[in-house]
Symmetry: C2
Subunit: 244 residues, 2 copies
């Protein structure tokens, strides 16, 4: 069933505004009486559409829905800013896999140069992708694209576990750090995962990250592309914690 | 280090022919003396380039390389043929994650209509992607795109484990089948994984697959896109078996 994440204010007023109105009218072609799911700040309800007007859709709540589709802890992905539009797909897929917050990180080997004038529109765009993917994958919570930021400017002090996905350690046979961390996560903890851009995290950056508590971890023996590493990490975390 | 998968015949003659010559000359701009890895039928060697001519590159073997980058069993992905060029990315990423053979499967909900005249060129194209991804990810074995084939025409009798990725069972809280199968794989067994196209596997198809031994399995509580499911499955298998 199609889901819409809406603001708390709209939820209280049983209304949908903004881009979702277009989606309801022109993409899904819903009519009065059709059923949708509506979600706001972790509350979720099965609703039926009451009226569809130009800029507003009114709904009534049929029943509250229990949604336990969230990981029992918070996993944030710090993605080394990749080439082209790969970050679009990464946002989409790690949202499906349960990521909470996503950051585009400017590292030494990022080819991407941030045009400050375009930063806000890029962040808006990534958040639109996150919202659609959260709806499509039936998340209870909306994933969020937080910022495009230089590696050295990030405050990682809030995290309980810090994982650096680092293929250099795989070459030396490292194969236990990631699983060891994942198995020991406790409910409601916060996990930061860093993935380098194409070419990987530079040696000095790796040293810096180790100095602030990141554990360099191999994701298997093969060399993963930057756009695959985050998906591997989130999939493995889901496998460990959401499958029995 | 750049790797090239070549034929047994070329390996014996210490030569590289075909498209790889262009890659060596024009993409990597290698010169005589540069080091490459060369792989053939599971044998691998560190080599140096001896000469580069128009259609042929000669190399000499410096030393044999031990490569243990393969899963200890064979995992084949039967991917419901998706829209657009998604199968390109799926081939690329599941190769990185260790898949052995990949099939494009025509199911009831596949929008894709196969033009028989284009079948061979499509298979060639997917195999080119598999070869490049096998080289990039440092596989010992080349993954292979085998065929585009109707679901009902596939012979699954050779497989020891058959997994149907099926979101319908997730709705009923199924969360143990996939992990249960994965944990019980034995070395050298063969595993088939089926993923539906957009819209999923149809109910009749699911009944048929169950009748021939497929276990309907949820990949976590959220709804994954068709292009994410295979990556989740392969990542989880790698996590279970390749990390300690």
């Amino acid at each position: 069933m199609q889901k819409y994440f809406i603001s708390d204010d709209d939820f209280k007023k049983c209304q949908i505004t903004g881009d979702d109105v277009h989606h309801i009218k022109d993409v899904m072609r819903f009519k009065s009486g059709d059923k949708i799911k509506v979600s706001s700040s972790g509350s979720e309800a099965l609703c039926s559409i009451v009226s569809i007007e130009r800029d507003i859709v009114m709904f009534k709540i049929e029943m509250a829905v229990q949604n336990n589709n969230e990981l029992p802890f918070l996993v944030d992905l710090y993605q080394g800013y990749p080439k082209g539009d790969k970050l679009d797909d990464i946002c989409k897929h790690v949202t499906e896999l349960g990521a909470s917050n996503i950051y585009g990180v400017i590292t030494k080997r990022s080819v991407f140069k941030l045009d400050p004038k375009k930063k806000e529109s890029k962040i808006l765009r990534f958040n639109k992708i996150c919202k659609e993917a959260s709806e499509q994958s039936d998340r209870r919570m909306l994933s969020k694209f937080v910022d495009i930021i230089d590696l050295k400017k990030i405050d990682f002090s809030l995290y309980d576990h810090k994982i650096l996905c680092y293929e250099e350690v795989a070459k030396n046979g490292e194969a236990s750090n990631f699983k060891n961390i994942v198995k020991n996560i406790k409910p409601n903890e916060k996990i930061a995962i860093i993935v380098g851009p194409e070419g990987g995290i530079d040696e000095n950056e790796a040293s810096y990250l180790k100095s602030i508590g990141f554990i360099p971890s191999a994701l298997g023996p093969r060399i993963l592309r930057t756009e695959t590493a985050g998906l591997y990490a989130l999939s493995a975390i889901s496998y460990e914690w959401e499958l029995k």
